[in-house]
């Protein structure tokens, strides 16, 4: 193995949240002696490389098997897979489509992001900038713990505690904002809105915990420089903390979005599982891809399982696209962030 002198360029690739903002990753040891590489070295290197390639094989296998199992069901489908709102894969002839569930997935994830991301950034700023040091470490710890609470617990809470309490708020939204079609409802209940709020509460600690770590990495010199120039605390945040942390916050939000779109159990417990594209987000209706899989797979026959796997494939592709976009944003922002001090 020879060393490439310009290989440090590869280190510019963002790797996860923490290192995405790492200004200058230390160049790593690449210098194996050119003379002779021992057999054991070769074996070990290839072992690790095989593991790495194994990971690629795993992803390929996920895609391949989902496609494989989906094709039978898709070819038997008498509806339009992307256009049909109904979901009757178990009857003959089967008729199903992801239109309604995909819509539900996007809507609930959208509501969750709108509610959770600003609040998470607020929490992260509070912990890193505003709170006294002692309190900050305790709070950071608590947020980390909350991020570890399993989603099924949030789902249970959303179903039994939150959903009844949300009734008044939903009625009020309907009263005040009812002239907007989104908030117009004949009756309110376990709606997209409630599911979105549960998802928001669920991804809040995750996004907050990751954003906090990013803000902690802002060099003190940047912050002190802003304050020394007479900036108020908010101006310091705007000019020093946010620009530095932006890529990390974006990638944290994308992770949250991925969680929100893929969240199964909480949504399955909250939404009433109806297959309908509804623009009235306060009415008790709707379903998401993931929740539909959890609810529907118990009674599914062969075609039914294939249909569920096909809808899972759609979710897989959507989350992958989201991830790719996020990475592109982060890579572009890095060039302009000027944080290479």
């Amino acid at each position: 193995m020879t060393t490439e002198p310009d290989s440090s360029a590869d280190d510019a690739e963002p790797r996860g949240v923490a290192s995405a903002t790492d200004p200058a990753p230390a160049p790593l040891a690449t210098t194996t002696s050119k003379a002779r590489v021992g057999i054991a070295d070769l074996i070990f290197k290839n072992l690790t490389r095989t593991a790495g390639i194994g990971l690629l094989v795993l992803i390929a296998a996920i895609a391949a098997f989902l496609v494989l199992r989906a094709t039978d069901a898709l070819s038997a489908n008498t509806g339009n897979f992307f256009g049909t709102q109904e979901w009757f894969p178990n009857q003959t002839p089967p008729k199903f489509g992801v239109a309604a569930t995909l819509f539900g997935t996007v809507v609930t994830a959208f509501i969750a992001m709108v509610l959770a991301v600003p609040v998470s950034v607020g929490i992260a700023l509070f912990i890193t900038v505003y709170a006294p040091r002692q309190l900050a470490s305790v709070l950071g710890y608590i947020v980390d713990l909350l991020a570890a609470v399993p989603s099924v617990v949030y789902g249970l809470w959303g179903l039994i505690v939150l959903a009844p309490h949300m009734k008044g708020t939903q009625l009020w939204l309907n009263d005040v904002l009812g002239w907007i079609p989104l908030f117009d409802a004949d009756s309110v209940g376990r709606s997209f809105f409630v599911a979105g709020v549960v998802l928001a509460i669920m991804i809040l600690p995750i996004v907050a915990a990751l954003s906090r770590e990013v803000f902690l990495q802002v060099p003190n010199a940047h912050r002190e420089a802003a304050l020394a120039l007479g900036a108020t605390r908010w101006e310091m945040i705007r000019t020093a903390v946010l620009p530095y942390g932006r890529p990390g916050v974006i990638s944290a939000s994308m992770l949250g979005l991925g969680r929100a779109m893929g969240e199964t159990i909480a949504v399955a417990l909250v939404l009433p599982a109806s297959f309908k594209i509804s623009a009235h987000w306060l009415e008790p209706a709707g379903n998401t891809i993931a929740a539909n899989v959890a609810n529907g797979w118990g009674e599914a026959n062969d075609i039914g399982r294939g249909a569920l796997i096909a809808s899972g494939l759609v979710l897989f592709v959507v989350t992958m696209v989201v991830n790719i976009i996020a990475r592109a944003i982060i890579a572009r922002r890095r060039d302009f962030s000027g944080s290479s001090a």
Binding site: P150, W172, G262, R327
Partner: protein
């Protein structure tokens, strides 16, 4: 609003040139907060508005508006903007803390009802949704076995990938691997379940088992383990590697005897956090383990149960006995996960590498 209009602070040595401008007294935010709360309470009692959530939101909005207006009048627009942001951050924090604490409080208070020795030593054998009694013994066995098996597979694999990325990985292939680790990180957990269902259960025909569940958990654990190990390996100072090479130690021995041991505490922490995460996963387990009311201690054949699955199946029943069981199981699961987190923290705290 100019900041330099008020001419005289009288106290000697305190801002004689009026560099700071007029400022609100310290008690002003508190007073405004109290006023906002009082006003929204008034609205709560006088008008037909009857949702607690609304009242809290209303108090927050009132405080935000009054604070900004008062500050703009007294202190000028720059300070006002700062006050606005501060208020926003504080209210965001408080608003977020309320539901999060509410989750914990409900789980603890409602879970305590069935949280007794009986609950931990019995399975659900012969217990219907309408019956009292029943327990999580079978679910705990399932969770422990599935998570252990998953860790045994995911940790060595993830560590090897991390070593490749940090120590050897250069050029296109490592970049591709790094990218797909990110893709796996964002993979919805139910997709992992569907994959194992399609591959192991349906295509290979092995049927539902605890092992199938742990395969799905492996898919979810790998990216977490890779990422955290990668970060830790990167923190190992290069001098240690160079010292190894300078002594003529081959690279693989340097990695295994010097680099990995140095990073080990951090790696252990990452692994514990990954374990804590997958222990609470429901969706993949639902599709691959199937769930049962009976005790099955063999993860390689037959359906098993697991704690998250148990919570899900009990929460879906309308009877109060089942719901009580769900809360108690949720409490048990949270305690297990918190313990794993605490252990990981202690590990990280004691041997912080930096």
């Amino acid at each position: 609003m100019s900041t330099a209009t008020v001419p005289e602070p009288a106290v000697a040595g305190e801002d004689r040139l009026n560099l700071r401008g007029a400022a609100l007294p310290r008690w002003a935010p508190l007073a405004l907060a109290a006023g906002s709360v009082a006003l929204s309470l008034l609205i709560y009692f006088v008008t037909p508005v009857d949702s607690e959530i609304q009242i809290v939101l209303m108090a927050a909005v009132l405080f935000l508006i009054s604070m900004t207006v008062v500050s703009t009048v007294v202190e000028g627009s720059r300070r006002a903007r700062d006050r606005f942001a501060t208020t926003l951050v504080y209210t965001a924090f408080l608003l977020a803390v309320i539901p999060l604490v509410a989750v914990l409080v409900s789980v603890i208070s409602k879970g305590a009802k069935r949280f007794d020795a009986d609950f931990f030593t019995h399975s659900m054998n012969g217990i219907g949704a309408r019956d009292a009694g029943g327990g999580i013994y079978h679910a705990i066995i399932g969770t422990v076995e599935q998570v252990l098996l998953a860790s045994l597979m995911a940790v060595p694999f993830g560590l090897l990938v991390a070593i490749y990325l940090v120590e050897y990985g250069r050029g296109r292939i490592s970049r591709v691997i790094s990218f797909f680790v990110d893709v796996l990180t964002g993979l919805p957990s139910i997709i992992a379940g569907l994959f194992v269902l399609a591959f192991w259960v349906l295509a290979l025909g092995f049927g539902f088992s605890g092992f199938a569940g742990s395969l799905a958990l492996v898919v979810l654990m790998i990216p977490t383990v890779v990422r955290s190990s990668e970060e830790m390996l990167k923190l190992v100072p290069n001098e240690l590697r160079e010292a190894g090479y300078a002594l003529g130690v081959p690279q693989w021995r340097t990695i295994l005897r010097v680099v990995v041991p140095t990073a080990l505490p951090g790696i252990v922490t990452g692994v514990m956090l990954a374990v804590a995460r997958v222990a609470g996963e429901t969706a993949p387990v639902l599709l691959t383990v199937f769930g049962t009311n009976l005790i099955n201690s063999n993860p390689f054949s037959g359906e098993q149960s697991s704690l998250p699955l148990y919570i899900y199946s009990q929460a879906g029943q309308p009877q109060q006995f089942a719901i009580d069981r769900a809360w108690a199981a949720a409490l048990a699961l949270i305690i297990i996960i918190m313990l794993l987190n605490l252990i990981a923290r202690l590990f990280a705290g004691r041997n912080r590498l930096k």
